[in-house]
């Protein structure tokens, strides 16, 4: 028989208790955290959808790898396992291990960036943008037109706008472009996949103009799933083959392995060109660690080598994508305005639509984040004007294009009953939506303010 139910292709080997709380307790926790869920203690949270980064449950095989970890400072066996696995996937020769993704970004974008340079991407993620701007360069987003419409069900909303790219290359001149970065899947744009044909076009155009291309591949397996099932011509390829073909187009790749490599810590920079790899390797040793560990313990490299293979298991990917879609579709059916189609790692709520009574400058996304925590102890993150807003010369907010709230689902961690609990909480959110209030920021830092900003009720 063919089953309709998608079960987890694993059983649970080790559990971690959840500390439950009452709504009354959560009111005081949230007040103490200045209405910023990043500042909550983890034991004050019931369902943690803050991020899918570094929060995966590792497999028994990965834990065995943790115990096998070779902690030798130089030339560790675990490094060789990681290097081989990453070379096999990316087809790139030079692999630089880093403690996590943002260190790889810092190394490469500092090297390629600086005053006067620009970087172009489908959408720069928060840490990517911070690293680029910190170097003095400018970060420009060119998502395709369909990405702007949260209700459109175009299957590859992560695609880049090719004509805009062409225009930018002509306008800004190829030599001023640090790199074009394609992020798969496009996290800030709703976890939306990028099609193979778009990546092919982007990289061909860049090659013609001698512009470097980088793949931010932290969710490359999830992106491969969408390509196989939605893009013609890939039906008979494995997910891993699709990923390998993706890497083929690019000059380099950065990865936060905390996503699709199913680990709690780790990342890498992969390069083809020795003349870029050598100076980057110098910087790696100075700021991260020696070239054969880069700031990772042996055990973390071992777990990464195993995880980056496990993630391509077809049963795992089907479970992953379908269980995310289950939550998204249920919410959509209830009338919650979600970004469609549902992405791979998270469900994104359009808070501007849900809370149309809250002004953008009072952060409707932050309001929903706080409501979800108060009503259900669910921790989520705002991806809108708190994360990406800027101020103009008069100190007025330049809002981000969207006011989204992300429910990022950790891999292999929560069961269907956790998801049902979240859905139930949204029923209450819908019922009481008129009562939600906006917020004002009273303390913030210059870069990545969303991590530490403090809010008060508007």
């Amino acid at each position: 028989m063919i089953h309709k139910t998608t079960i987890e292709p694993f059983k649970i080997k080790s559990v971690e208790p959840i500390s439950l709380s009452t709504e009354e307790q959560r009111i005081s926790y949230l007040e103490k955290a200045h209405y910023n869920t990043f500042l909550l203690n983890s034991d004050e949270v019931i369902i943690d959808f803050l991020t899918d980064s570094g929060t995966s449950a590792m497999s028994a095989d990965q834990w065995a790898g943790v115990l096998r970890g070779d902690e030798s400072y130089a030339g560790s066996r675990s490094w060789h396992a990681m290097r081989d696995a990453v070379q096999f996937l990316t087809g790139m020769e030079f692999i630089l291990p880093t403690h996590q993704g943002r260190a790889a970004e810092r190394i490469i974008y500092n090297f390629l960036g600086g005053e006067g340079k620009i970087f172009i991407s489908n959408t720069h993620f928060d840490t990517t943008r911070a690293n680029i701007e910190y170097s003095g360069a400018e970060a420009i987003d060119i998502p395709c037109a369909e990405a702007e419409d949260s209700a459109s069900d175009f299957p590859f909303k992560g695609d880049l706008d090719i004509s805009k790219l062409e225009q930018l290359i002509t306008e800004k001149k190829a030599e001023n472009i640090g790199a074009v970065i394609v992020t798969v899947t496009n996290n800030s744009g709703g976890g939306q996949p990028v099609s193979m044909s778009n990546m092919q076009q982007v990289t061909q155009l860049c090659k013609k103009h001698n512009v470097l291309t980088f793949l931010d591949c932290c969710r490359v397996a999830e992106n491969s799933y969408f390509i196989k099932h939605k893009e013609p011509g890939f039906e008979n390829k494995t997910y891993e083959e699709i990923a390998q073909q993706t890497f083929n187009y690019f000059d380099g790749a950065v990865m936060s392995a905390k996503k699709d490599a199913l680990v709690n810590m780790g990342g890498f920079l992969a390069l083809r060109d020795k003349s870029i790899a050598d100076p980057c390797s110098n910087m790696l040793i100075i700021t991260e660690g020696f070239a054969t560990y880069g700031g990772l313990s042996g055990r973390d490299m071992e777990a990464l080598a195993i995880g980056i293979k496990e993630v391509f298991d077809p049963y795992y990917l089907a479970y992953r994508i379908k269980s995310t879609a289950y939550l998204g579709n249920r919410l959509s059916e209830m009338g919650v305005p979600v970004v469609l189609p549902i992405g791979g790692h998270a469900v994104y709520i359009d808070a501007k639509k849900l809370y149309n009574h809250i002004l953008v400058k009072e952060y409707p996304g932050q309001a929903l984040v706080c409501e979800l925590y108060l009503k259900g102890g669910i921790r989520t993150v705002e991806i809108g004007s708190v994360m990406f807003g800027k101020y103009d010369a008069n100190g007025d907010l330049i809002p981000a294009p969207h006011e989204l709230v992300r429910l990022a689902i950790p891999r292999r961690v929560y069961t269907q009953s956790h998801i049902e609990y979240v859905i139930e909480t949204f029923e209450e959110i819908l019922k009481t939506k008129g009562q939600a209030q906006g917020f004002k920021i009273f303390e913030e830092s210059q870069y990545l303010r969303h991590f530490t900003a403090k809010f008060k009720k508007a």
Binding site: S14, N41, D43, E71, G75, R77, N264, N282, G295, S445
Partner: protein
Amino acid sequence: MKKRSWAEPYKIKMVEPVFMTTRKDRERYIEEAGYNTFLLRSKDVYIDLLTDSGTSAMSDRQWAGMMLGDEAYAGSINYYNLEDAVSKYYGYKHLIPTHQGRGAEHILSKILIKPGDFVPGNMYFTTTRLHQELAGGTFVDVIVDEAHDSESEFPFKGNVNLQKLDNLIKEKGADKIPYVCIATTVNMAGGQPISLKNLKEVRDLANTYGIKIVHDMTRVAENAFLIQQREEGYSKKSVAEITREICDLTDAATMSAKKDALVNIGGFLAVNDDEVFEEARNMVVVYEGLHTYGGMAGRDMQAMAIGISESVQDEHMRARVGQVYYLGEKLLEAGIPIVRPIGSHGVFIDAQKFLSHLSQDQFPAQTLAAEIYLDSGVRTMERGVVSAGRNKTTGEHNYPKLELVRLTLPRRVYTQAHMDVIAESIIEVYNNRANIKGLNMVFEPKYLRFFQAKFEQIN
């Protein structure tokens, strides 16, 4: 130090096989590695004394802590446990976790050092000095002269020469000196301690000029143990008490927890100053990770919190340093020239004396490290002219007074039998030393060249 056996205050719970090789295998491996022990693969190494950094065996309690890792991105319980441990054992007010020590050095140097500044310290350390230089500062060595003399028996070769420090401040002006960097213990001098008496004098001098003291505290508990053994008035105090007293005399600290704190990865920046803390907290997010994990997995923060408490136990330190002494004394008895007094984390062979027929341009320490590997598969590290790099302005080699090979002992990893094998091998190499030829450098990286430089044997 009173001679006594150092039977370990623990038994073995988990083992890792080591690989045996033949001399013929090793000849091939070291040639492929360009006669640089850093470039050997760990599977080709029998006993690995390359470093004590990140190579410790964790305790069963630490492994249990690993299973209690709370991998929440923000507000992990393990962060708060680590904060408690740092505050309890070291006493610093604010904690910023980093993926390892150099992450903390990177952030602190960026915040405190302005171009044109001078940073005095009790001898350089490779990564520390580089971060100071990248931030626009110049490192100035103000360690006592005895530190550069491998034969001096002075018990506190990590001490600061107060006159040198005072002269520097007078010459450059206090506003050009963001802080004094004090390392416990001094790695490049052979794991030598600073005395509390000297540190108090440095504190007084720094107070006079309103200069901060930053503590490079990676082996602070080992330094505390050597104070307990050597400094008048401290024999009755515990390692934990002395550790705290050292930290209390300083304003901020960078920690590579991969040494004293008995973990395989991790570090932190700790500061008392609220403003520096705020700035560092904003910066750590860009470079390392959110301020409640800073680039460390939750489990690693938990293991560190436990490791810190284990590291300041007197019995632990007695076995730790006792093992180093056991090896060092065996070598001394055989007449091998080593740095005296024996330090806390390793035995340092004076390669210039060992291979007295080689000039420093023939890289005697690099040569000796390769020869020891060839003889027995024991991996050691050069700490001499290769590590010292080149002068920023002249481009010449920096010729350090100490040309050393470091035999660093990982914590709780090797047994007494391993120590015997190491000693026998070095004695064997010593007996054949006249036949040993030097090396030519054939590849030289721009920064921290010792990591990846390649050499060929001189024919």
